[in-house]
Amino acid sequence: MYTKFFKVGLAAAVLAGLGACHKEEKVNVSPAQVSASHPITSDSLTGSVSGTLLSGKTYYFSSDITINQGDTLFMQPGSRLIAIGDGKTTATSPQITCNGSLISIGSADSNNYITVPDNLRDAASIGKGLWGGIQCGETSGDVIIKWTHIEFAGGPAGPAADPNVFAPGDPRNSLSYTNIDGNVIVEDSWIFGTSDDGMRLLHGHVSVMRNTFEDCGTTGGEGLNLKNGCVGDVAYNLIIGAATNAFKVSNSGGGPIENKTYLYNNTMVNCGFRQLKAGRGGSIDYEKGCQGKIYNNVIVNCRFGMRITPDADVKNITYNNQFFYGNAQYLLNQFYSVDGVGVKQGADIMSATPKDNNPRFKIYDVDQFDYNTVAPPLAASAMPMTIVTDAGYDLTLLQSSPAYHKGVTNFQALRTVPQGGSFGANTVDPNVDMGAFPTDGSGNKHFTSSLSSTN
């Protein structure tokens, strides 16, 4: 009798076991709302935009505008895009959200502008972050910027900001790029007076050639900040008066693609003095897991010189032929930052004593500001405009310069982005001269501040 019950029970249990049923989840998720882009029909841009900004015309935006995935916003030579904002809140510092492609093709004669109204284009607007910069999503298309002035970006980050890049309220950069498979080409352009980093490229293929970064960052912030997954070339740039480093290269965040940056023939002047935190960099900083080549750079009066930290991919960083100048002993002491593993290389040229080995630029007095008279960190007001912006200088080397013909040309650029034509890069290999302005004129073409251009 009991056995029978047991059998029945067992059978029931077995049947029950077979009867377990877990219905597949029905998932219903709202799609990303993309407001259809509209063609550009007036000079006020709002919402999703797609199309062409015409030569000689000026366009305005006072709230965020978006370039949808697949769309392109194309700026013809001589077009101007003006942000209306005050930088006080996210809503009053509009940004360009780029999920598609942004192509701004200015020319040497007809520059393009992405900036603020003319009456605000002055020293008083530096660091105010009057608009929110160009913020690219992780599926963004290519960004191609040539002969374009990007000025006074910053503005606190808010709802449209990528949480990977900004915490709420953080000042935004002129350009942030996050598509690891995308291309960023920035050439012959000016980045001026940002609140924080001039440009922060978190991932992507990059070619940053012949640009001028002026007075980037307020109490912190780099000129150009390259993070993990960036691979490419950075050359012939002039960085003047950046708050912290001119160039910070770091693989922080890890990821499958190691940062590999070829940094050569750049000129850095008066960088690193506004960073409040002690022991940060002031010119070239290779950190955490990144690799690359560092050659032919000219570092003049920067708070720190070369810094390669122990956690960088030191084995795969090669460097030499740097030019270091300082007019105060404490600058000389940090030509190679003492907390780094970088050491003086055979072909480096250094001031042995303050003011020794003047680089002999065509028009720039390296001793116009005596760093013996100050103790960093410096307030913005303690640095005259003439040492943080390009006040009509020509940093081309004289033939008598100790840096003349002291560069190496034994390697080629990585060329990770498409080359040639209007939309391709014009990536230039290292020069026999050091710095961004070699004597053969193949380097940086800028001889004025961004603000003094109006064409």
């Binding site: 009991y2 076991g17 990303a32 996210t90 990977n164 890890g254 499958p256 022991g279 991919d313 907390d339």
Partner: protein, 939 residues
């Protein structure tokens, strides 16, 4: 005199001789049906003294049912024996001088059960250890429980710390060292649900489902049940098991219990307790209070929280009161109880962080921090339980409970960067921060239940319940400033950095979770042949509504370049994002509707007890997040159903031995925030965390086999094995799939995302032994658990020309699973002469994964630990007791490590606390020893 004797005994600390003309009197009390001894039986001897006045002597039977009175005056006595739940017995006897007497009493049970596990009616004794053992023995399922009395005399104050005394249970601790969540047989909190009187309760957590058990004061419980298998009438999302808190019920006789105690932590001999006032802070975020367009200023974010003061010797308090009894001819039962616990702790820790990128041969540590914590916790609970018995067939009961846990925490961290500026010991970048946190978690639960015998062998019960859990963590304030020591490039001297003020952040977190639920069960009792067969069907429906709000306001020093000298009133600030963070994905609402029905049959035939059936559960979750509508999944829903069969077979070998075999199918629902799409960058780990709406629920087939042996009294031997086959376990891992709906898509970015990982298994064995002698008892249990799961990790290694990153699979135990868990408690119990209860509780937990690292072979393990706690209760006068609880006698630290030998590389030889070749030291927290001394009154 009667009252003085125990006191005198206490004072003399031992035995004293009684009067001259005496005789010994001894005996045992047993259950008539089973022949088992009955511990805790009340034996009353009454006689008329020489003066004609009535004299009474009371005593209680020991743990083995025996009693001894060594000295009693000769005379004529009426002896009556009472055990709640048994018929009362009385007998007369004559005691002559010098000649002893031995008497045995056998009592007939009066217990009438309406339901299997939930014990109905006025049968008291449920809070006794015997009651809890009976509940376990009679349960249809595999469960272990602890009685109110066991909890009372244990060293534990909260339900979470009590739970770890149960076999197979370990706990996860909060940052003050107190137990917070349970892990049952290596299955972590996501696989466990929490019940109050059988009703599931919501969680105050703003992301997850699980309920922190440290909210509940242990002294409100009548019994704590840890359920390890399910029947069809129980909800199915308990792959690990369920924690059921059976709250105190109205006792048969009027009773009063009161206790009060003072607590002290030994750390305060040498250090002060840091405190702050949260009074001036807003209670909700400025955006929530003033509307979405409001721009906050520093007026909304006063800096008061950063002004600290100290207490020299903070004393904690414990207060408890419970009153109960039956009125209106025993028809109405009332119990009102309240509990208040206030404690202070200092915690010291040193902790390392993993870098956001780890390359083979590279530095495995990014920073080392010294952390100091001063934590005050106030735990309070009140509840009311009423029941009204209209007649033998109809009963209505109400439970209302409100629990509140307030935490006030000051945290100071001084964090030294090991990657940058670390040119030698004593050098480096230092980031300092103070964080002040004031948090209130509340859970309330109101339940109305009716039980009806419908006649014709039909029984019906129904329950209507409302529960609400809230979390409010307003104005969590963090202040950061720089420090550090640089190396002078010329002299090599140490140059102290100025304390440059960095940012400040103010976070406002608020969350509510509200459940409305109804339950209906119908039972029909039949006889088929010689077997009694119970048929039951029933169902439940729950409507859950959850709302989460989160704002963070980031502040910058204004002007920049200020130093912090410890007095924040000297510093000026500006709010960087005055509008708050309304679009943060932690601003969301979610609804979950669960409907369930079941059919179950229970067959009792001779030695066989077979329970089986199936449960149907339908789940429908919808959400609405406040993120921008340009983000996919701003709103969404997930629905599914499960049919969950289960069966339990119990075969009683004889009266004392039984075998149980059980199977159940269970599920584990993903947590709310895991499925709601969100992107969160964690600057500490350098990882981007994403939500995954395509996350499947976990399902599992669970098997248990247990042998039970109850030799006599409270003695027991339980031996069992279990096996769980788990499908789609949920774990966080690194992936390069940006959109989980398109698994074929891939990118070169990586994300940290909750995902399903194929199949995992968890198997183990348990032994639970209890043995009592008259005054002395040993309780021991041991659990072996072995689980395996395979997940993908990140592995970066040097190759020619750079590094390469792969995502290999790694097999490891489930997070939180310890291979060996052992408990050993030594008990001393004499309720008669000495009125002394003492307990020494030892617990051992072997190593377990504390944090799953994203890096291959770098999981962070908690080191094995052994903890010792002690408690004592001593009667000092009739109805008066003193008691003491000492926690963490060995000052056991919480230690974390990575199972990789620490290598002194060229990269950085200057990490403190590390020993080359030994496991990488990650963290050590010490909590100190805590004492509690108090007085109890019981009527």
């Amino acid at each position: 005199m009667k009252r003085l004797i125990p006191l005198l005994i206490f004072l003399s600390g031992g035995w004293i001789a009684g009067q001259a003309q005496t005789a010994p009197f001894a005996g045992t009390v047993k259950d008539q049906r089973t022949g088992e001894p009955l511990p805790g039986a009340g034996i009353e001897l009454s006689t008329k003294g020489a003066d004609g006045k009535k004299k009474e002597i009371h005593l209680l039977s020991g743990l083995d049912g025996s009693f001894v009175l060594r000295h009693i005056a000769a005379g004529h006595y009426e002896v009556s024996v009472r055990v709640v739940g048994y018929e009362h017995v009385s007998q007369e006897m004559d005691l002559a001088d010098g000649s002893g007497k031995t008497m045995s009493f056998t009592l007939e049970p009066t217990r009438k059960e309406l339901a299997a596990v939930s014990v109905m009616g006025s049968s008291g004794g449920r809070g006794s250890e015997r009651g809890s053992q009976l509940a376990d023995r009679r349960a249809d399922i595999v469960q272990n429980s602890l009685s109110a009395r066991a909890i009372e005399v244990s060293p534990d104050l909260s339900v979470a710390s009590t739970a770890q005394r149960v076999s197979g249970v370990t706990t996860e601790r909060g940052n003050n060292g107190e137990s917070q969540y349970v892990i049952i047989r290596g299955m972590e909190k996501r696989y466990i649900y929490t019940l109050v009187n059988g009703i599931k309760i919501p969680s105050p957590d703003n992301k997850n489902r699980y309920v922190p058990l440290d909210i509940f004061p242990a002294d409100l419980l009548e019994r704590l049940e840890i359920t390890k298998s399910l029947t069809p009438n129980m909800e199915g999302d308990a792959i690990g098991g369920a924690v059921n808190m059976i709250m105190k019920d109205a006792p048969a006789k009027f009773s009063v219990n009161a206790n009060g105690a003072l607590g002290y932590a030994n750390d305060f001999f040498t250090q002060d307790f840091s405190k702050f006032s949260s009074g001036a802070s807003l209670n909700r975020s400025p955006r929530v209070l003033n509307g979405g367009s409001y721009l906050a200023t520093m007026k909304d974010l006063p800096n008061n929280a950063f002004s600290h003061s100290t207490s020299h010797n903070p004393f904690g308090e414990v207060l408890g009161l419970s009153l109960g009894g039956r009125l209106l001819d025993n028809k109405l039962g009332i119990l009102v109880a309240g509990s208040f616990q206030n404690n202070f702790r200092n915690v010291k820790s040193v902790l390392f962080e993993q870098p956001d990128q780890l390359v083979d041969g590279g530095l495995p540590l990014s920073s080392v921090a010294n952390r100091h914590l001063s934590v005050q916790q106030q735990r309070s609970g009140t509840h009311v339980r009423l029941d009204y018995r209209f007649n033998d067939n109809n009963k209505l009961s109400f439970y209302g409970g409100y629990m509140n846990l307030m935490r006030q925490e000051f945290r100071n961290v001084s964090d030294t960067n090991l990657e940058l500026n670390r040119v030698g010991p004593g050098f480096g970048r230092v980031s300092n921060s103070n964080r002040d946190l004031h948090e209130v978690q509340q859970i309330s639960n109101y339940t109305l239940k009716g039980e009806h015998a419908l006649g014709g062998n039909f029984f019906l019960d129904w329950t209507a319940a409302y529960s609400r859990a809230t979390l409010n963590n307003p104005d969590e304030s963090t202040l950061s400033w720089d420090g550090g020591v640089q190396k002078d490039p010329v002299t090599g001297a140490k140059v102290q950095d100025p304390p440059t003020l960095q940012g400040s952040s103010r976070e406002f977190t608020h969350s509510t979770d509200e459940d409305k639920s109804g339950y209906l069960n119908l039972r029909y009792v039949s006889k088929i042949g010689g077997a009694s067969v119970d048929w039951s069907i029933g169902g439940m429906y729950r409507d859950k509504n959850r709302t989460s709000e989160y704002d963070v306001y980031n502040l910058d020093p204004n002007p920049g370049g200020q130093n912090y000298n410890g007095d924040v009133s000297q510093n000026g600030w500006v709010v960087k994002n005055p509008q708050g963070t309304s679009d943060d994905p932690l601003n969301y609402t979610a609804q979950e509707k669960v409907g369930a029905g079941y059919g179950m049959v229970k067959i009792e035939a001779g030695p066989w007890l077979i329970t089986g059936g199936a449960r149907y559960e339908h789940t429908d979750l919808t959400w609405n997040s406040n993120v921008e509508n340009t983000i996919k999944g701003k709103t969404g829903g997930i629905s599914y159903y499960d049919v969950l069969p289960s069966g339990n077979i119990k075969y009683s070998i004889d009266r004392k031995e039984a075998l149980r075999l059980s199977y159940y199918s269970g599920i584990g629902r993903p947590n709310f925030y895991e499925v709601i799409p969100h992107t969160l960058y964690d600057p500490e780990s350098g990882q981007t965390e994403k939500g995954n709406p395509y996350l499947k629920r976990t399902t599992a087939d669970n098997f248990d086999l247990r042998y039970e042996y109850y030799p006599k009294g409270l003695d027991q031997v339980l031996v069992g094995v279990f096996y769980k086959s788990i499908k789609n376990p949920i774990e966080y891992s690194i992936t390069n799939i940006p959109d989980p709906s398109q698994p074929q898509s891939s990118s070169n970015n990586t994300y940290y995302i909750p995902e399903n990982f194929g199949n995992a298994t968890n198997k183990g064995a348990e032994v639970d032994i209890t043995k009592y002698w008259r005054w002395f008892g040993v309780r021991a249990n041991y659990t072996y658990t072995d689980s395996k799961i395979k997940t993908t990790k990140q592995h970066t290694f040097p190759v020619a020309g750079g590094t390469k990153t792969e995502t290999p699979e790694e097999t490891r135990p489930l997070q939180g699973q310890s291979k060996h868990i052992a408990n050993l408690s030594l008990l001393f119990k004499d309720d008669n002469k000495l009125g002394l209860n003492a307990q020494l509780a030892f617990q051992y937990t072997s190593g377990r994964i504390n944090t799953v690292s994203q890096f291959y072979n770098y999981d962070i393990w908690q080191k094995e630990f052994a903890q010792l706690d002690f408690s004592l209760e001593k009667r000092v006068a009739h109805r008066w007791y003193v008691y003491a609880k000492v926690n963490n006698l060995l000052n056991t630290p919480y230690q974390l490590e990575v199972h990789q030998p620490y290598a002194v590389g060229t990269v950085n030889p200057y990490a403190p606390y590390q020993t080359p070749g030994k496991n990488i030291f990650m963290r050590k927290d010490t909590y100190g020893i805590n004492y509690l001394l108090g007085v109890k009154f019981k009527l």
